[in-house]
Point group: C2
Chain length 346, copies 2
DNA sequence: TTGTATGCGTTATCAC
DNA sequence: GTGATAACGCATACAA
């Protein structure tokens, strides 16, 4: 009857059908925007029928909030990281944020090109699993988004999350390794183990250096000799080969700490199948992380657990609090490790 | 000197410093837009200095291309899926697309709410790893984005990718199971195995039903008795327990096909540690996927491999070709499986 | 409450 | 090749 308009957007059609303005449609989707309840209901119903949802790009432009959280990882397919991505995605999704996934190249270093590539999407926040990128660099790259930094403090010297100490200029998640390591060393020590080895992870990864540092501190505190260190890279294969080198080339060890569970599996298989040693009778093995595979019967690995859910919950708190108040002082969350005892220690 | 403008955007500042128009800055970042080479270079240099990159939200609005690819998975942390997400993210990133990750709830079914949630981000394409969602529903949900459907055809009846057959109304990746299964059955048959069992995955997953169907067809073609089927869900634990039920409650089997590698590991551990049977001497085990863990020494699993790189390359071809030509007839890519022989078969 | 008008950052169209 | 200008889809300040 009336003349057709040039070309209507879906949102406008929804508005027309509900006999409201385009603005009302927008408000209907924003729970705290003022709109009469029945109108909101009507608009939402019609929108549903027409399969209309507000476009995030438009919304991002108007509100300066992309509802995107950038996540940068070296390997999605590493078990621990996939576990964390899984939990993080779920938690963010529940809160209306989508996960934007990026992968670093070969090594764990962060290509500046990747950063600006990511910047283009204007994520509201950024989580970087690559541990060797200085937080300053991150903050320089993301003037808008607020990166969350994972910190592995030296627990022997770092006083902890005291804002006065001036050490924490950025939001960070502090991962404390000591508890689990102390428990593991106590257990091994109780079984009479004295000669320790540390199967390292990627030397650039802070998780690796923090674990080694803490282990040596804990051993020293007990008057035990320092652990022999063998180079590794967090991988199964390297863990496997490194342990063979360690035991073929020298006196071996009575207890092996691996920098993560996956390399602990490599160590276990090397000890049992390549070297013909019995675990735990002849050699004890302890891992880090407690990924699903650690409970598999063929490994049944005693390991120092980081609770993924706890860790992700802390990350999400950091992200959301910062988003709520851009100007707040640096936030700190702290998580701890604990020993999970299975059958690779005796 | 001259009066300051109200408030300049970063892009405008870049334009000013390069003494060009705002439009020229935009063109500088679009390689095929017309712009004198030296101007382009100058703009890019200044932009680099000022840490400016074009905003994707704005670009998406103007071009109707978000450069986002939505990926929906049930579990990020399942080894096979994390492998695929990893490869897909890398491939897409290289081509200027970012991966937008979403997770389905508990079961593998697709919440319609998740679909519209995702629609809001206007992904250019959508890859759904959840296999029990009918492609029609997907196409209805994404009028703009073009979902890629993973198809597991019945290889005994489906003539293949003939457009004339009218069966393929949507772009799809056809995964053919037969080759690897035929090879595995030939090998097992050559070792004298006759009593087969199939440790199922999630009954709703097409990967599961296709593997079972094909296995039975291959066995029948050789005149072998059909495989006994035990219920499973792709998990280690269920694989472990199901095998115990199978062997405690009846005659067991001479060869076990597991619907995926992870449940094959559960089966292996159950056979060896809970049932005290020798693998491969007393029971042979074959998995599906060939994830990294299949090569680990404690399992060393003979498995039917799907090449991730090949699969992802095919997916990316589908996505990019469709984006290049929205109106093209349905695209089909086909990949096959092949047997990887390790030590769980004899 | 509601509608109108404007701006968010970008690209495309159109003149030059 | 280049610069002005009008969209793109949304949220909001402001006026009603």
């Amino acid at each position: 009857m009336a003349r057709e308009d040039q070309r209507q957007s879906i949102a406008e059609i929804v508005a027309d059908r509900a006999k409201v303005s385009r603005a009302a449609v927008s408000r209907a989707f924003n729970p705290k925007a003022p709109l009469r309840a029945d109108k909101r209901e009507l608009v939402l119903r019609i929108a549903e029928e027409m399969n209309y949802v507000p476009n995030m790009a438009g919304r991002a432009l108007a509100t300066q909030r992309s509802h995107l959280v950038g996540v940068i990882v070296p390997h999605v397919c590493s078990p621990w990281e996939s576990l964390e991505i899984d939990a993080l995605t779920t938690a963010l999704q529940d809160r209306g944020f989508a996960t934007l996934l990026f992968k670093t190249r070969i090594d764990r270093s962060l290509d500046p090109k990747l950063l600006s590539y990511m910047r283009a999407y204007n994520p509201d926040s950024v989580v970087v699993f690559t541990e060797n990128v200085p937080p300053d660099q991150l903050h320089r790259a993301f003037d808008q988004a607020v990166p969350v930094y994972v910190d592995y403090p030296n627990e022997a010297t770092d006083p902890g999350p005291l804002p006065e100490s001036g050490m924490h200029r950025f939001d960070c998640l502090r991962v404390l390794q000591r508890d689990g390591i102390e428990q593991a060393v106590a257990l091994l020590s109780g079984f009479g183990r004295r000669r320790f080895a540390y199967l390292a992870g990627n030397p650039k990864a802070q998780a690796n250096t923090a674990r080694l540092r803490t282990l040596q501190q804990v051993l020293a505190a007990r008057g035990l000799p320092p652990a022999a260190v063998v180079e590794g890279d967090f991988s199964y294969q390297r863990g496997h080969d490194a342990i063979i080198e360690l035991f073929r080339g020298g006196p071996g060890a009575e207890a092996v700490f691996a920098a993560n569970d996956v390399s602990a599996f490599g160590a276990l298989d090397a000890l049992r199948h390549a070297l013909g040693l019995r675990v735990p009778e002849e050699v004890s093995v302890v891992g880090f992380d407690d990924i699903d595979q650690a409970a598999w019967r063929s490994y049944d690995l005693t390991t120092i657990k980081i609770d993924v859910e706890e860790r992700v919950a802390a990350l999400v708190r950091l992200i959301l609090q910062r988003l709520q108040n851009r100007a707040a002082p640096p936030l700190v969350e702290t998580i701890r490790t604990k020993l999970v005892v299975r059958s690779t220690v005796a």
